[in-house]
Amino acid sequence: MAEIEGGGGGGKHKGGKNRGKKLSTRVDFTPMVDLGFLLITFFMLTTSMNKPQTMEINMPDKDVKTEEEKTKVKASQAVTLLLTKDDKVVYYFMQQNGEPGTPMITDYSPGGIRATLIKENKARNPNIDSVAIYKQQLNMGQIDEPTYKAHASQIKSFKDGLIVVIKATDKSKYKNMIDILDEMLICNIGRYAVVDISDIELEMLKTVNLE
């Protein structure tokens, strides 16, 4: 016979081709899933998701030189808020004769200081409601962000509008100050300042037992 056998024994090859055993191509993915979820858990625990919100504030320059450089404010348009202990706010208006008016006590609830501020602001700045309308238009996509900001800041800086002077006592908490600054945003008050409290006001707080 002329056939040459490649292999020596040849007993195992039954004449056909030398076929490798067919292995399944399926791989068990379970360990990989384990690993994946382990890493997810790790990342969820060690990372922080959102960037913190912030609130911007501009303080007046500390060394204002002369009386003339100080901003003159008409007595009728200024309201002074005194942040006192126990989460209470005392507010008063200046009277025509330059004397402080009667102090009134309120709190940080929507029906408290916010209602007062909105009412007073509206009385002095008749266009203030338009800010809300512009805001609505912005949310509906009818106007763009810069347009909204331009309109809003123009209305808010109306020269006869309400001016809020914020004075925090030493008994108040940081939360109170943030809350009141937040109210400024909510009530669309364009002009406000954080100032140190004076002795007259401390006396006034004694009369309402909130010093």
Partner: protein, 198 residues
């Protein structure tokens, strides 16, 4: 009684789809988040409706906790190194290279500079346990003011963010604000958490 024979099914499930989901989520978390800096104090920030985001870099973070301690932190390792070197010159406190390296990895700290070498020698885990006394910022010894000033010299585009706890007493906040104003910083941010406006 004849037994009902349930056909035996294979228990192995195709895991490919699950792997896909797991890695998709993993990718999402890796891209959308950043690592939490290890903070020496937990601060519960008050909420506001403001939607301004804090910039990611070039921020000085002044943290005030509810026990009226003041902490200081700045981002960027080169900035931190530079600030520490100039503060060391000013206060005549010497730091080893190792301590400076360690400081450049520290996100926030709250000890007077005299105690800083000691704090830097600790291991990270020990540092979390030790109670830091806060940076002095009263009128007699205002180290905070110098930290702010030196940081602004090292990095002139830096913004300042104040992060206070709800229960922080106002006098401390007032002192920090006064310190900032003395250094001619009249514009800064308060860090708040999200709140929906009614």
């Amino acid at each position: 009684m004849p037994k009902v024979k349930v056909p035996r099914k294979s228990t192995s499930v195709d895991m490919t789809a699950m792997t896909d989901v797991a890695f998709l989520l993993l990718t999402f978390f890796m891209l959308a988040t950043k690592f939490k800096p290890d903070e020496p104090v937990i601060v519960d920030t008050p909420s506001s409706i403001s939607e301004i985001k804090l910039p990611e870099s070039n921020v000085i973070l002044i943290t005030i906790d509810k026990n009226d301690r003041v902490f200081f932190g700045v981002d960027g390792q080169p900035t931190r190194e530079k600030v520490l070197r100039s503060m060391a010159d000013k206060y005549k406190v010497s730091f080893t290279e190792k301590q400076i390296k360690e400081f450049s990895l520290l996100s926030t700290f709250g000890v007077p500079i005299a105690q800083l070498p000691q704090l830097l020698d600790m291991k990270a885990e020990e540092r979390l346990k030790v109670a830091q006394s806060g940076i002095p910022c009263d009128s007699l010894n205002n180290e905070l003011s110098d930290w702010i000033w030196q940081t602004r010299l090292a990095n002139n585009v830096v913004r300042i963010a104040v992060k206070g706890d709800r229960e922080t007493n106002y006098p401390v906040v007032k002192r920090v604000i006064a310190t900032l104003q003395e250094r001619k910083v009249n514009r800064f941010n308060f860090i708040t958490s999200m709140e929906r406006a009614e």
